[in-house]
Structure formats: structure tokens, C-alpha cells
């Protein structure tokens, strides 16, 4: 039996600052309900974000986690990346260059992680011998 997760891509507004952040959370909150919500936040339009925006992101992540879901970020512009790093939340999220990659990541088995551990178990020379 094959199951596919329904991934929702949410396009973020141009500004995710104090004035707009709460309204944005109200829009997103219904998407975070239910079992294993899988969300991608598309940042391509975002030009401005402050600590209120960061708080909303964390709240969204928290809500998603509570329901065994996940929240991934896509197309984060450099200005926003600076704010995320400054506030030390960048490392909490998976980042992707575009929403398509982020969506795909939900359907992909984490092969790279497996390969990494496999390489450690089998040194390069052994891998060659095994073809």
C-alpha cells in the first residue's frame, strides 16, 4: 500500500512584520490542524521580516510538530536569511531553494542520510570491491 502526504505550499506576504504577523498566523492556523500537516512556506515574495515574524514561524513550527507534521522553508531571500540567523532559528528549519524541492523532500526517503551512514560503515575501497 502506498501513501502520499498532502503537502501545502503557503505563499508568504511581502512583509512579515509586527502588523502583519498575527493576521498571517490566523490564516495559517487551520492548515496546521489535523494529522501530520506538511507545510512549505514560500518566502519568494518576502522582503521584510522582524522578530514578530520569527515568533510566528516558531509558533507554526510548534503547532506542526504537535501534530507530528513538519514545516519547511523555500526560496528564503538573503535579507530574511540574515534575520533567521540573527535570531538563531535558521537551524530549526529545513531550507530549500524553491517550493518544488521542498515539496519533493516530503515524498523522498532521506537517502542522503542513509548513504552517509553507509559510507562510514564501508570505507571507499570496500565500496569499490562491492561494485
Amino acid at each position: 500500500m502506498a501513501t502520499t502526504r498532502r503537502v501545502i505550499v503557503k505563499h508568504l506576504p511581502e512583509s512579515l512584520s509586527r502588523e502583519r504577523a498575527h493576521q498571517f498566523f490566523a490564516e495559517v492556523a487551520p492548515l496546521l490542524e489535523g494529522d501530520r500537516p506538511s507545510l512549505v512556506f514560500d518566502f519568494s515574495a518576502v522582503r521584510d521580516m522582524d522578530s514578530a515574524g520569527v515568533e510566528v514561524l516558531l509558533r507554526c513550527m510548534e503547532e506542526a510538530m504537535k501534530s507530528n507534521g513538519d514545516l519547511k522553508l523555500a526560496a528564503v531571500p538573503p535579507q530574511v536569511a540574515v534575520i533567521l540567523e540573527l535570531t538563531q532559528v535558521s537551524r530549526l528549519f529545513e531550507h530549500f531553494e524553491n517550493p518544488a524541492d521542498a515539496v519533493e523532500s516530503y515524498h523522498r526517503f532521506p537517502v542522503h542520510a542513509f548513504q552517509q551512514s553507509n559510507t562510514q560503515l564501508f570505507p571507499a575501497s570496500l565500496e569499490e570491491n562491492h561494485g
Binding site: 522582524d50 538573503p78 534575520i83
Partner: protein, 356 residues
């Protein structure tokens, strides 16, 4: 020796790239100009004046362009403020003529910007030895905006400032210097200067005292007992470091700046009157007021959120027109003796301390 010096402070160079979408308005006052911004407790202007005095130059004039800000001078420095209607070079030319009339034989004309270390005596000997009226300093990176000019030639030729290459046959004579030079053209140069100074690669000594090897602090510094300073670092006058904060890797906090509790400051310059919030991770950046330059991404942004960064520049410095206590004349430059903070009259500066 009858040598005078004229130091010209223009509006630039701007450290914010032109294509940048940063918009400056009153909410985001422009930062202080590079030569006037304190670096390790003292501005390039102050250091240059001190250096010239040590080398025996007594007559020093500073010409500040429109919008210059935060100038704190040493004593006996003549200051000329050229407002928006006057070109600083015209004001400099007038000063130069006046100095020549008062018996000065050789004048140094320099545009403040680069930080240079060399023997003035040697360069003056070179200038006189070549018998040419105009000498320009050069380093490995090319020409520097530093000239020696003879009074007689200037009077007879009526040379317009600034001196342009090729305007007079065979002039200027190039004088190579081998001392430490940092052109301070952008924020990376600023970071390099801080590193070189803290590693004692140049004579750019931090103000204040060494608390422990490599940890420089100035007067009125407040450091929470749980904060951690990892050498080499510099904390300027009246800076505050909150609980559990970490300041490390050649970071410098200039006067009246601060770091909130738990914030990590790594390889970063926090310029005067800039207060960082709590729980932040600042790395490889130059921050002045609301302006944040990320050196790794080469991105400048203005942060309006006081939880992250606050500009604590006194209000009267941000909008001097509203608080002006010095007269401004449109037609002619104003001259003041022994003045401090011509900023208050000259207005906020348009040159900003960032460049991509």
C-alpha cells in the same frame, strides 16, 4: 618646517551599494562618515591630526563637506564647514591660498578616508629632493589621495583642486610609501583594520587599556559577570555587555553600544550608539544604528525592530536642523576655531558606513 595640512572630508565614499533598496529617511538616519566614525575608540580624523602634529605640522585645517557628522577634533584645528551650496574643494582652495599668503611653503592636501602609516619627514625629503611642485603618495594598490604642493607653483599656476593626473606635464611626481595602508573603502576594510590593530600589525592602537592580553576596554564599560570576552576584542567607552553574552574573534563594540543578554557577537564591528537585542547570534557583520551589513552574504538591511537592533544616537544628532545651535550660511563657509561636533551644524551625513 613651514608645512601646513588641509584635510578634506567629503560625503563619500558611501558604503551602501547604489542598487541597494535601502531607503534613507528620518526613521533611518544616515550613519556617520567613515573618517569621523570611531574605530577602536578614535576616528581616523583624530588619529590623522594627532599624527600630523607629532610629525611637526602645526597648521591643520579640516574642510568638511555637506552632511558631515560627529566630528570630534583635537585642539588648534581650524574647521571649515562647507554647507550644501559650497564645494568642499573650493573651500580647501581658499584655505590653501590663505595659508600660502601667511608664509607656508609646502602644503599637504589629503582626502580623509584611507588610514596610512609612513614617515612624513622622509616623504617631505623626497618631495623637496625631486624639486617638483607636486608630489602624490602611492602604495602597492596605486595612488593615494595625499599630495604635497609648493606654494609658489600653486600661486603662479592657479591650480584648481583636486589635483588631476595628467593636468600638468610630468606631475604629480609619484612617491612610493611602504608603510601600512588601509584604504577603508568598505566595511571589509574596516574589519581588516580592526583585526590588524588588535593583532598589532600596525600602529593603530585601541583607546583604553588592556584588561587581559588582547582584551581592550575603555572608560565606563559595564560587563555582566556572566558575560564572556574571548580575546582579542575591544569594548569602547560606556559600552554594556549583558548577562551570558559572548564577544569574540576580533569584535569591536564602539562607544555607547551594547549587547543584550545571551547574544553572541563574533567577528563583528558594532559601531557607536548601536544596541543589539538579547538572544541573538551576530557573526561577520558591521552594524551601525539600524543598518546591518552581513559580510558573508554581502547584504545590507535596515532593521526597524528594536528587539533586534536599536539606534541610540542622540536625537539632536539625527536631525540637527531642528536643534541647530550653530549658524549655517548658504553663501560662504563658516569657520570656527577649536570646535567640537560640527555635526550639530552640518547635518546628518549622506555617506554611510557600508559597501557591498
Amino acid at each position: 618646517m613651514s608645512v601646513s595640512a588641509i584635510l578634506v572630508i567629503g560625503d563619500g565614499p558611501s558604503f551602501v551599494p547604489a542598487k541597494n533598496n535601502v531607503h534613507r529617511d528620518r526613521r533611518y538616519p544616515a550613519a556617520a562618515s567613515m573618517p569621523c566614525t570611531e574605530i577602536l575608540g578614535q576616528s581616523i580624523l583624530d588619529r590623522t591630526v594627532t599624527r600630523l602634529r607629532k610629525e611637526g605640522v602645526d597648521t591643520i585645517s579640516v574642510v568638511a563637506g555637506p552632511g558631515s557628522s560627529s566630528l570630534a577634533f583635537g585642539e588648534n584645528v581650524e574647521i571649515t564647514v562647507a554647507d550644501g551650496s559650497i564645494d568642499p574643494w573650493r573651500a580647501a582652495q581658499r584655505l590653501l591660498r590663505e595659508q600660502m599668503e601667511h608664509g607656508i611653503q609646502t602644503a599637504i592636501v589629503m582626502v580623509l578616508g584611507a588610514y596610512m602609516e609612513f614617515s612624513l619627514k622622509d616623504v617631505l625629503e623626497f618631495h623637496r629632493g625631486h624639486g617638483q611642485p607636486l608630489t602624490q603618495l602611492f602604495d602597492a594598490g596605486g595612488p593615494l589621495e595625499f599630495w604635497f604642493v609648493d606654494a609658489k607653483w600653486l600661486g603662479s599656476e592657479g591650480v584648481p583642486l583636486p589635483f588631476r593626473e595628467g593636468e600638468f606635464l610630468g606631475l604629480p611626481v609619484a612617491c612610493p610609501i611602504s608603510g601600512y595602508v588601509n584604504r577603508l573603502e568598505n566595511a571589509r576594510d574596516l574589519r581588516r583594520l580592526v583585526q590588524d590593530a588588535l593583532l598589532a600589525r600596525c600602529d593603530f592602537l585601541p583607546r583604553g587599556r588592556q584588561l587581559r592580553p588582547g582584551i581592550w576596554i575603555d572608560d565606563g564599560v559595564r560587563i555582566h559577570r556572566t558575560a564572556r570576552l574571548v580575546a582579542p576584542v575591544y569594548l569602547g567607552r560606556s559600552t554594556k555587555v549583558g548577562a551570558s553574552a559572548v564577544i569574540t574573534r576580533f569584535s569591536n563594540l564602539e562607544k555607547h553600544s551594547g549587547v543584550g543578554h545571551g547574544t553572541i557577537v563574533d567577528a563583528t564591528s558594532i559601531l557607536p550608539h548601536t544596541v543589539m537585542g538579547s538572544g541573538l547570534d551576530v557573526s561577520h557583520a558591521v552594524i551601525e544604528g539600524n543598518q546591518f551589513l552581513d559580510l558573508r552574504r554581502n547584504v545590507v538591511l535596515q532593521i526597524a525592530d528594536p528587539k533586534l537592533v536599536r539606534d541610540t544616537t542622540p536625537r539632536r544628532w539625527r536631525n540637527p536642523a531642528a536643534y541647530s545651535d550653530l549658524p549655517l550660511v548658504g553663501e560662504a563657509p563658516i569657520e570656527m576655531e577649536n570646535s567640537h561636533y560640527i555635526t550639530r551644524a552640518a547635518g546628518r551625513l549622506s555617506g554611510v558606513f557600508f559597501k557591498g
